[in-house]
């Protein structure tokens, strides 16, 4: 159990004390809620016993109402650039904190990423940082700032990698992630779809993530669809939240649940553009894997 692992110091005590729901043992199944239009399907999934919690990307728009689902909430954000040399926006982080305080989320998910070339704002989806000693120090400094602001555990997540900018200080992105997590006493969200995309694009074995990351730190798994497209003679893989997870993703989820002792949450990321049937069938499959069926 997490509470007996001394590696994490007070953070994990905080996690355990947060909520009886999260303290009840085993892994829970949840899904990322992206907007009011998803609420009817989420209500159906809740009624069928397929959803234990929802994950929310903070800050929310004013009109969004995930609270009507009356499900526990896991806090997440994609808009704090933890690895940015330009720093993070305390105004934005303050908004996340405000939402976080309305939940009993045991940790808040953050991307180990950059978002642009300014101290605030985002040009698009999260961008992976250079894996260098300097960016390691930058990430640690930004995370420490956030930890002081939040006074709450942070769980770090990596995006899918295509090209890897590296000065050789780290063996790979998981080594970088693990060292940052260790230095800042952070938890880890392992996005298994990102792991598969990276491994396929870079021609690597995906299981290196289990060897590089301290297994006890992983508290949450992200699972989503992926798609490929051809570029010349080669095939490349991308995130595709509008599609259900494929067989390889389900298999690695099973492996992760077997190998990682502290996974408390398995989160399906399935967007509004996806077919409704795909959402329910993915939840059914994952429910079986986390032992809900």
């Amino acid at each position: 159990m997490l509470g007996t692992n001394k590696m994490f110091g007070t953070n994990i005590t905080h996690v355990i004390n947060q909520s009886t729901f999260w303290n009840s043992g085993g892994s829970r199944l949840g899904a990322r809620w992206d907007g009011n239009a998803q609420t009817p399907n989420f209500l159906k999934a809740k009624e069928r016993g397929l959803l234990d919690y929802i994950e929310l990307n903070f800050p929310l728009a004013y009109s969004e109402d995930p609270w009507c689902l009356e499900l526990p909430v896991l806090s997440h954000t994609a808009n704090n650039p933890l690895a940015s040399a330009f720093g993070i926006s305390l105004e934005h982080a303050g908004l996340v904190k405000e939402y976080l305080s309305k939940t009993d989320s045991p940790w808040t998910g953050e991307h180990l990423a950059i978002l642009g070339e300014t101290g605030v704002g985002a040009l698009g989806y999260v961008i992976n940082p250079p894996l260098t000693e300097e960016f390691f120090k930058i990430a640690c400094s930004n995370i420490t700032t956030l930890q002081v602001l939040y006074n709450h555990p942070i769980a770090l997540e990596l995006g899918p990698f295509y090209s890897v900018l590296s000065d050789g200080a780290f063996r790979n992105e998981y080594h970088f992630l693990n060292e940052v997590a260790r230095a800042t006493d952070s938890l880890v969200i392992l996005d298994l779809t990102h792991t598969l995309i990276t491994s396929r694009n870079l021609g690597r074995d995906p299981v290196i993530c289990f060897d590089e990351i301290e297994r006890e730190r992983v508290v949450e798994l992200h699972v989503a669809g992926m798609r490929s497209s051809r570029h010349g003679a080669n095939e490349y893989w991308f995130d595709a939240h509008q599609e259900p997870p494929n067989t390889a993703t389900i298999e690695i989820t099973e492996e992760a649940l077997r190998l990682l002792p502290n996974v408390m949450a398995v989160t399906l990321e399935y967007s509004l553009e996806g077919e409704t049937d795909g959402f329910f069938s993915a939840l059914e499959i994952l429910a079986n894997k986390v032992g809900k069926r």
Binding site: Y62, L123, I127, P130, F135, L165
Partner: protein, 208 residues
Amino acid sequence: MSDEAMRVQSAFVRLIFSDAEYKHFISSPIDYAAKLMLNASQINLLSPCATELFVVERQGRKNLAARELRRAFPRTFALLCYDNRSDSQIINEFMDSDNFFEIGDTPCAWTGLYGYDNRPKFFKWAKIQPRCAGLSECLKLDFAVYLTSLTQYSNYPYYENFRHGLLVESNRGQLFVKNGIVIGIAESTKAQEALTNLGSQNIERFLR
């Protein structure tokens, strides 16, 4: 944070989005390094940007950003694509500009903070592009539709301005836009006054 790391991050981000910067980097990395004041080890760090994987990555990232622009400015793209220019070319030109990389001057509807929405930055860029007939009206109309559509998501003061709709000048009268929909044309002065009295604002007030 060090200036060196900022320069590396800046170069990496620009190589992802800007075709002009990328061509410069590929054709002459040494010139490119000099322009950005990058040393040999920093330019070496960026060397994976010359691979096919990076080309694939930048294509994917640009497409994501482009999709939201195409959705928000359908009338504008139709007019900017003169002389067989594709909408991808238009988007590439925007992503080559400093407007794209700056935080802009319109707050995000979700957060009230600057820099989290590329669409107002596109508006700012497009309004200074070479003119073709009707471009100004279409651009303002697309932007009015976009801004008023956000009132339902936002309670920030900037978006409260648009709650009673926006008026956009056209050669047929003033177009009345509310909640993301073009409602109709206020042709007479009396109709325009009535809308103004109800709280509708002329979009010109908000265009810098």
